[in-house]
């Protein structure tokens, strides 16, 4: 077992595109973790989806064997972190398994809001930070300016900021030395038996549930009888190993080590990330500090297009939840869409990723309803009711007010865009908290904004209005009573619950009109006129009509046309199957996505 003092556990905090994956590849290469032949581009981003989107969703861990120039050997455990604001919860999970972080900043882009937020998270957690400027080889790089900015933000001297090019490898050797010299070794054990923190897990179709863990106290050996302290599960350590990044079984993992354990458990809901593993025969009395439970911010209904897929959807959600503790779901039924699940997500990106994974990895065809936040409704009897779906909003006569969740929003922007950003925040019902110049070129704005305003498309608007230069981070900031009402959509006179949304009174008309217009474009003409109305309470605020289809017939059907006509209509019939019947109206799947677009515009 390696000596605790020869172990360094760290992660890399970086903004999207600042080069985290490339740097990780370079570290793997320099330490010989992979031969050149095995070297794939960006090994850590192993899921297809991550590769396509260029982001890291799931934390993973890799063990690097590092020999210093003086011959001393060290084990460096690199724990990957996700890079999007939706996933800051997962960052905190990774940080809990580390003693230090590399704070990676693009030499041209400078510090981003989210990097800063994660750096503060690391500082609060008592982690050591090694600031690193990446991409110093780029023509657009301004390492001196960015170095000063990073040093200023962290309160360190500019000499402590390293400069690398993950692409060319420049400075990577110095970084490896800095990891060994500046990051602390794991702290000594506090108890005299096994305690290990489960910081991630995933489901392997052949092996069952694989837990990633970090041993804090004692030893975890193959064959040990284990107890998961929070869930209460007693399971054997069938296989213990490390990731190099290939899974390599080992006899045991000692204090400070990072690796995996396989217990043979197939049921995904029996393992919880954040749990503490101890020995069944000599259990620890106190578990390790876990994580704060992630709080879902956005809710949306997911319904299988084919009602028979309901059980498959449930199983798939359960599997995803195994390594995505932020995903919550409960059964929901919709008059329009049948049986499905109301799911809670960290944000829109998280929602989109979950949906895509369900469709791709589990081959499900889904309809997602308009996302909503959770509102707290003040009832006339003095009680409060939390609702996660606009359908659940009580009648106006039964409520005295609606409280909506608020965010403390931090935006970092080049100073030339301050006016633009302030305008945008005001449009989204934000109130200014503080404004602070981090440097003459960079301003930090703090606003209080309703969550519902940020969740839908705000990020894209911020990016487009500042040509991509502003960045955003946020945290929950209580509730506030808002002048809110529910806008319903009636198709052919019948309200479609899946289209309902709770919006601010000032925006209700605009929202209703735009949604109705876009539905008119999307809904095909039927055998009768289909009125589409938006209603706020009993008042119709917008109306469009899909005119009845007048002609739907082939001109000729003679002896030579019969076979061809039949085949043609068979094909068209298949297309119709993919439509959803809402009452007597056929509605294509895109209609449900249109609701999202109206919000994002």
């Amino acid at each position: 077992m390696p000596d605790r003092s020869r172990i360094r556990n760290f992660c890399i905090i970086a903004h999207i595109d600042h080069g985290k994956s490339t740097l990780a590849d370079r570290l793997l290469e320099r330490t010989g973790a992979l031969t050149e032949r095995e070297m794939r581009e960006q090994v850590l981003d192993s899921m297809d989806l991550e590769r396509e989107r260029g982001i890291t969703i799931k934390a993973q861990a890799v063990r690097l064997d590092y020999r210093r120039p003086n011959g001393d050997e060290f084990i460096l455990n690199l724990i990957d972190t996700p890079g999007h604001v939706d996933f800051s919860y997962e960052v905190s999970r990774s940080l809990a398994a580390c003693e230090g972080v590399i704070l990676l900043v693009d030499a041209a882009q400078g510090v981003e809001a989210q990097t800063l937020a994660n750096a503060y998270l690391a500082i609060e957690g008592g982690l050591e930070i090694v600031p690193v400027i990446n991409k110093v080889d780029l023509p657009a790089a301004d390492p001196d300016r960015v170095t000063a900015e990073v040093a200023g933000v962290l309160g360190v001297s500019v000499d402590e900021v390293l400069r690398v090019s993950a692409k060319t490898g420049e400075g990577v050797d110095d970084l490896l030395e800095a990891i060994v010299e500046r990051l602390p070794a794991p702290s000594p054990a506090e108890v005299d038996t096994l305690r290990a923190l489960v910081f991630d897990s995933y489901y392997d179709p052949y092996r069952g549930v694989v837990c990633y863990l970090r041993v804090t106290d004692g030893v975890l050996a193959t064959g040990d009888p284990l107890r998961f302290m929070i869930s209460g599960e007693d399971l054997p350590a069938d296989e213990v190993g490390v990731l190099t990044p290939k899974a390599v079984p080992v006899a045991r993992l000692g204090e400070g080590e990072v690796g995996y354990v396989i217990t043979g458990v197939k049921e995904v809901d029996r393992i919880r990330v954040g749990d503490t593993v101890t020995r069944r025969d000599r259990p620890a009395s106190v578990p390790l500090p876990g994580y704060r439970e992630p709080k879902p911010m956005v809710f949306s209904g997911l319904f299988p297009t084919d009602g028979d897929d309901f059980e498959r959807l449930r199983e798939a959600l359960e599997k995803l939840r195994l390594n995505d503790a932020a995903l919550v779901f409960e059964p929901e039924s919709s008059r329009a869409l049948g049986f499905g699940f109301r799911c809670g997500f960290l944000g829109l990106l998280h929602m989109e990723i979950v949906r895509e994974r369900l469709e791709r990895e589990y081959d499900l065809d889904l309809v997602a309803t308009a996302p909503s936040v959770a509102y707290s409704v003040l009832l006339t009897d003095g009680k409060e009711l939390e609702i996660r779906s606009p359908q659940d909003l009580p009648d106006p006569t039964q409520r005295t007010g609606i409280r909506e969740p608020m965010l403390r929003v931090m935006v970092l922007t080049p100073s030339e865009y301050v006016g633009t950003v302030m305008e945008l925040l005001q449009e989204h019902r934000g109130t200014l908290g503080t404004m602070q110049y981090l440097s003459p070129e960079r301003v930090e704005l703090v606003y209080r904004v309703p969550l519902a305003e940020i969740v839908f498309g705000f990020f894209d608007q911020l990016k487009s209005r500042t040509r991509g230069y502003a960045s955003l981070d946020y945290e929950p900031d209580g509730y506030e009573v808002g002048d809110l009402l529910r806008v319903d959509i009636l198709l052919n006179g019948v309200s479609v619950d899946a289209f309902s949304a709770i919006v601010h009174r000032d925006k209700a008309y605009d929202y209703g009109r735009r949604l109705v217009e876009s539905l008119r474009e999307i809904i095909p003409r039927q055998m009768f006129d289909v009125p589409i109305q938006a209603a706020a309470g009993s008042r119709i605020i917008a109306r469009e009509t899909v005119k009845a289809k007048r002609k739907d017939v082939t001109a000729k059907c003679y002896g030579g046309d019969i076979t061809r006509k039949r085949k043609l209509l068979e094909r068209q019939k298949e297309g119709k199957k993919r439509m959803k019947m809402l009452g007597s109206v056929e509605v294509p799947q895109e209609a449900f996505i249109a609701v999202l677009r109206v919000d994002a515009d």
Partner: protein, 390 residues
Amino acid sequence: MPTDGAPAPDSLEVADAAAGSLGAYVHLPFCHRVCPYCDFAVTEGAEAGEVDRYLTALLMEIDAAPRRSPVEALFIGGGTPSALPPRRIGEVVDAVRDRVGLAPGAEVTVESNPEDLDDAWLEGVRSAGATRLSVGVQSFDDTVLQYLGRRHSSAEAERAVRRAVEAMPSVNADLIFGSPPEEASAWQRSVDTALDSGIDHLSAYALTVEPGTPLARGVAGGSPAPDDDVGADRYEVVLACTASAGLVRYETSNFAAPGRVCRYNLITWAQGEYLGFGNGAHRHVDGVRSWNLRGVERYVVAVAEGRSPVAGEEHHTGWSREVERVMLGLRRAAGVVAGVAGEALMESEAGAALVEAKVLARRGDRIAVRRPLLGDAAVRALLALAPRDC
């Protein structure tokens, strides 16, 4: 709005009885010029030798047909059969009569283009055995005729139709509506002119953009496409004018004076059997649908070498055949005896919606499409049904 009343009871019998008659189709693929919207198996600018070789092969194919009950309706289509001299058409009629047999009083239809219809040709084709002429007028508006790539003018067409009415016992005019340059008034004039000319049968088709045609390429390249709402307006004009002229709609696109329905087409819509000869010709014999090679040359070579010219076939039995029966029957104003598939349609959710929208109706033991402009909606619902035993 439902657009037809219940047809006279005797027309139901005529429609259904056609199922027991035998038809025959003969294809003559030659055209002076191929129209830009046409996707039939046609060829233009053929030389005399090529025509001879084709007719030789065609007569060989007819001579090899199995003997069966005599044909009650023969349809010689194309292409442009009138591009050939009446003598060649006579050879075809004779071959069918000699080999398969023509029933007494059999209907013999020949397709034609207005520019070919001089007195000599008309007299010749009548003596060759034709009882019915179908004239490809398409429009009585010169702008529309030019758009459709036709070789005749509206004045020529009118003279030709009147001559044909004089010369033949029964005459059909084909009209095409809904081409983009066609004004509402031009269409009205076309319909009026056709009905005034003395014809006893009218076929009115919406211009359809068929894949692979020059028209389709034009539309793909940004030229205006026919508009369905305009097409519906034009169709309603036909319905109104034919009704007042005493022509009754008996199929989606076909209108006839009493007793002058096209018997050959009634056979196809009654799921009856018909023989097929020539390149690209379809047939329905002994419950099997099959079709010949489409290319003229490939067809000629196959027949000359003693090989079968059949390019493909399709077997429908049980539910599938029953669905086809109803699909075809719903084209007719007379509708179709509901049977297993028709009942299944009426019992389905989609069927109920079609009834609600007045597209589909039950009449005694029959079902019928009341709004022919939406007929395909009923057929799609039919094709989507879960199979039943039958």
